[in-house]
């Protein structure tokens, strides 16, 4: 068994002053076979699918519009985001996995590691707002 921990990161919010978020680091494979190291990805068990902003998506898959087009919706009524679905290769420590990922048409989104074929592959512990631990078995 191997595990990797990330301390929650303090961020500014409009209402609460500072909030701490479960942000993790992850590698993502680009279309030319190199790895990009991404910091501050939100580990979000409420998200069905992982999400990357457009610029990162273009480094990862090239032409993002080749993926299946979907409208992504969240908790905000009427708000929707156009995304293109691609299989993307991620790496946490030395564990690689391929997950369906929504690549946004916009850059104005926060990258998210969601559940399907991503967080659901691991035992993930959110420890009292202090740290996120990903346990790889």
């Amino acid at each position: 068994m191997h595990k990797k921990s990330y301390y929650y990161k303090e961020c500014d919010s409009g209402i609460f002053g500072k909030v701490k978020r479960p942000l993790i680091s992850i590698d993502v494979k680009t279309f030319d076979g190199t790895w990009l190291h991404l910091r501050d990805i939100l580990a979000d068990t409420g998200a069905d699918i992982s999400l990357l902003p457009r610029d990162i998506g273009e480094l990862v898959v090239g032409d993002i519009t080749q993926g299946k087009t979907l409208e992504l919706r969240g908790v905000v009524p009427y708000a929707k985001l156009i995304v293109f679905i691609h299989d993307v290769c991620f790496r946490v420590d030395d564990k690689e996995f391929i997950a369906p990922t929504a690549i946004a048409e916009s850059n104005d989104v926060l990258p998210i590691l969601g559940r399907v074929k991503s967080l659901d592959l691991f035992e993930t512990v959110f420890d009292k707002g202090r740290k996120t631990t990903i346990i790889m078995k």
């Binding site: 209402i15 990009l36 910091r39 610029d55 480094l59 908790v75 104005d108």
Partner: protein, 52 residues
């Protein structure tokens, strides 16, 4: 009203070294300036954004 958009923050090792909105340009600059250090990408959220 100011535009509320994300900015990229480029790290060399554990130190933030570049910030801006043009990711490709930032990565090119970082790879030239910080050849022997691990380059990573982060984000700075616009102020006053809550994530639900």
């Amino acid at each position: 009203m100011s535009e509320k958009t994300y900015e990229y923050v480029i790290y060399a090792g554990n130190k933030p070294v570049l910030k801006g909105k043009n990711l490709k340009k930032l990565l090119e600059e970082a790879s030239l300036k910080y050849k022997n250090r691990k380059i990573s990408i982060s984000w700075k959220s616009p102020e006053g954004v809550l994530i639900a």
